[in-house]
Point group: C2
Chain length 557, copies 2
């Protein structure tokens, strides 16, 4: 296992290289701003490739509008327009009917990275880092030198219009112009120019992004005017305002020591015990007593004085114990009915099934939940050169993930399932759409561009289990379909024989041939009916067997 690379050649005469001293090397030591960092590494934010860059802009503006509307309890109505101004040169407009942005926060929302309302809160939103929208300002400015224009009103009939650039060195907004005018409107509109981008209708383009957003946000009305003048209205399918995302206490399971300690240090509780009860969900007096039995430190201790070793003990104790699962309250899944409706509406499949797993947590104590669906036949799958291929639609908190599928945990989970077992003989070439939505307070993306989910064991497992359940459902459908076809064939064969034999039997038994035929027909159909009922009963019994069994036998672990 440990090959040793040996010197196999005579060393050449080394060229004289002058050795340099550390002081000389460190002359250039500098600190840069986060904005300079992302200016240089714009691919981290999703700005790589002409189509992707344009989709990224749409993605950032639409998710921000959706988050704002949902937090404010408003049914979102969003308008997106892309207008071509020249070669690879576009103007983008995104307008919502959201709560608006207070004047004093406009510069930081659009012109400062790592600033926002979402970072510190344990709440399910699409945005989480306070980078994306400032990234739009940065990329517009990098490619056109133009400021973005923000028009917003919080409902006081005063529209604030601010033109701003981003001061890259200082990571703050550089306000070009700021005016206020009176008008009765509430919401936010962002207008900007961008170059080095390209619009198209591919499955990586803005249209597909908006289409998928509409699919998983049934309460959203979104209008898209594309550069070729086509206007598409994705109307809402539901008038129910989703419950606004709720900030939740963390669940004690899966905490890491560093977080535990950080929370303890800033707690105002008098005892470690009350700190645990007030800072976490599902921790009762009884649970604190149970923890006390497992740790050496006194839980009456001041939480600000907790040591690393004590915090680690707490974390380990909690891991050994059972707690109620995290509340579903803070998580906002799309819901089985809504997913089914959307799938039927868009894909018109021959078969569809939706599976929602119970919420659970991954390391870091973060609750998450997985929703998956499988659609088969109809318009499911993706057409490539007139051939149908299986398609995976990934979402995180209802935001479509169009890019970087290769290393995404959601893709890997789909690929890890042995689809053959469930009757998919040639998975890749099946008319199949697999739909995965990861719902979480915090989605562990691999990059600031937020298109790929990091490979966390717990997430992969949940997605996999959910998909296996859809697989079993498909299998039942599939074998029932096969059985129906077989029954039909059996029935036809029996009736054919009966018809052929009837004259002979009639002669022998001297009965009326027509009457005999009718009786035989009834007899055959009755017999088959009993058989079907017996089969279905057996099937139903099989279904009642605990699902998890299947996991541990062959595919489990």
């Amino acid at each position: 296992m440990a090959p040793e690379v040996k010197v196999t050649q005579a060393p050449k005469t080394p060229e004289p290289v002058k050795e340099r001293h550390a002081d000389e090397l460190f002359k250039e030591f500098k600190e840069v701003s986060i904005t300079e960092f992302f200016r240089k590494n714009k691919a981290h934010l999703g700005y790589s490739g002409k189509v992707r860059s344009l989709t990224t802009i749409v993605h950032e503006l639409v998710t921000n509008s959706l988050d704002a509307c949902e937090e404010a309890g408003i049914l979102p109505d969003i308008y997106v327009e892309l207008k071509q101004l020249g070669e690879e040169h576009y103007r983008f407009t995104a307008r919502d009917n959201g709560p608006g942005i207070p004047l004093k926060h406009i510069p930081d929302v659009f012109g400062k990275m790592l600033a926002g309302t979402k970072f510190h809160r344990n709440v399910q939103l699409r945005g989480q880092q306070g980078i994306g929208v400032s990234g739009v300002t940065l990329f517009s400015q990098m490619t056109t030198g133009q400021p973005i224009i923000v028009r917003t009103c919080t409902g006081d009939n005063k529209i604030n219009e601010v033109k701003l650039l981003l001061d890259v060195m200082k990571n703050k907004a550089d306000i070009v112009e700021s005016t206020t005018f009176e008008q009765a409107w509430k919401g936010t509109e962002v207008v900007g120019e961008v170059k080095d981008v390209q619009f198209n209708l591919s499955d990586k383009g803005p249209f597909e992004y908006i289409r998928r957003t509409a699919i998983v946000n049934p309460h959203l009305k979104i209008t898209f005017l594309d550069p070729e003048g086509r206007k598409t209205v994705f109307d809402r399918v539901s008038d129910t305002i989703p419950k606004p995302p709720k900030e939740m206490k963390r669940h004690p399971k899966g905490m890491d020591t560093d977080d535990m300690l950080k929370m303890a240090k800033t707690s105002v509780a008098r005892h470690v015990g009350s700190f645990l009860m007030t800072s976490f969900s599902r921790v009762s007096n009884a649970k604190v007593a149970e923890i006390q039995k497992l740790v050496s430190c006194d839980l009456k201790k001041n939480p600000r004085k907790l040591t690393w070793a004590e915090a680690e003990e707490l974390v380990k104790a909690v891991e050994k114990m059972d707690f109620m699962a995290p509340s579903t309250e803070g998580l906002s899944p799309i819901g089985e009915n809504q997913i089914r409706k959307a799938i039927i509406n868009v894909l018109k499949p021959e078969f569809e099934t939706v599976v929602t797993r119970n919420p659970t947590t991954y390391s870091g104590g973060t609750p998450f939940q997985v929703e998956v669906a499988v659609a088969y036949g109809g318009e499911a799958g993706r057409k490539i050169d007139e051939e149908i291929r299986a398609e995976i639609m990934r979402f995180a908190n209802r935001a479509p993930l169009l890019f970087d599928p290769g290393d995404c945990a959601l893709t890997k989970a789909v690929q890890s399932v042995d689809w053959k077992r469930y009757g998919f003989r040639d998975f890749d070439n099946s008319p199949l759409t697999i739909f995965v939505n990861l719902v979480s307070m915090y989605v562990p993306y691999t990059s600031a561009g937020k298109q790929s989910v990091a490979d966390l064991e717990e997430v992969t497992r949940e997605v996999r289990f959910a998909l296996m359940e859809t697989g079993r459902k498909f299998q039942r459908y599939h074998s029932k379909k096969k059985r129906d076809i077989e029954r039909e064939a059996r029935l036809n064969t029996l009736i054919k024989y009966a018809t052929e034999l009837a004259p002979a039997i009639a002669k022998i038994t001297k009965t009326d041939e027509k009457k005999l035929l009718k009786e035989l027909d009834e007899l055959i159909r009755r017999k088959l009916k009993y058989e079907i009922e017996a089969e279905d009963e057996a099937e139903a019994e099989a279904e009642e067997a605990p699902l998890e069994e299947g996991f541990t036998e062959e595919e489990g672990q």
Copy 2:
């Protein structure tokens, strides 16, 4: 193309959701430090998964040591040790014989993100962002609460030992202890503890990382003591110190307007013309005159007064012109001989070929160069369950990329080649190692974890062209091998017939049978030799045809 999603259900009675005002929503508006950002998003830095996290630590420390030694003109001798302290709990040690770190810079190198010597310079190094090593401090501290220990000496016989943590809120080092002692040594040693990680010998583990680093750094001696006590020494294959990476002027091609303007604003040149000549490589007086003919602004203008529109004109003019390719001076490829030696040494292939493309630039005016190699047979390929699979080894500036292959431009380039054309009937199951090294002043990674290269057209194209050339070489080898086998068969057949006929001919012609047989044998061999020479000549002529032809015909574009 534009389906309209229609309301298909009667709206439910909406639950009463209270609308919230913007002021309430923005109460939580906060700014966070870059360190807090990466603390929350540690997957961006490569800290996801137990094995990957440990490999990431080794990667960050080894690349930093290699960069330091190369910049200082020192033949690197690096020692890495991983010692298991408990379950998923390790101590890491990385020691080099580099230039050392001046005392005053230690806190920022190890305890501040976005600080370093590499960010602003157009120079080829493995590190570029000033994040990685502070990331090691952060992850150690997050999992164990322990500081890292840095011992370093710049050659003045004073070893500075600093224990430090990272102040996450302030993004600066929190120095726990700092001592100095006398000892004759030069270099840097970093020791730390980490939990939630796992050592193994998989192709994603620290051993494989170090092995691949050794393969592409023939001047490196690296010793690895693994947690199971195995000590592996990868000795250097070359005593040539690579020329230290040189800071280069940017090439005018592929600049973007924003960069052009930024450079002009900070230039001290008196005219735009002299700014172009002093700030860029390959811009002569004659080239400035040529640019002047293509732009409306006067190149005698003060560069600090350049407008966006004028800078854009300059960029566009340059794109229309021809310039000498960027100098190879600033790029430090491994070199064909070194790659060949390494491949023969490690893989003992039946066939190998190395192709180095000429340096070129990608958008952003950044020079880059591509080195690829193909090894076939011998120990090439990767063994999975006793079956051999084709393997892709990706490198960027000689640093192995072990993770996130799925969406990496280097992987995609390999997959885009039609290998069947070159005689690989079943590419995936061939005993094949494909080796790709991207050499650049700046590698466009998709994430701060630096394991995947963004999909830039120019990079993909260069890798693809280089691979197609290796493909053609393999094809020639492959068809020559086939031809050799056929010739051998022909020779054997002819000699067999001659031997059978010899007695009869000897009788008829009354010659000595033995002599006749000898003459026939010689005749046959001579004839075949002429045939071989003629074939080889035709082959040689075919080889002289310009290579690029192949690209434009079928696979080009």
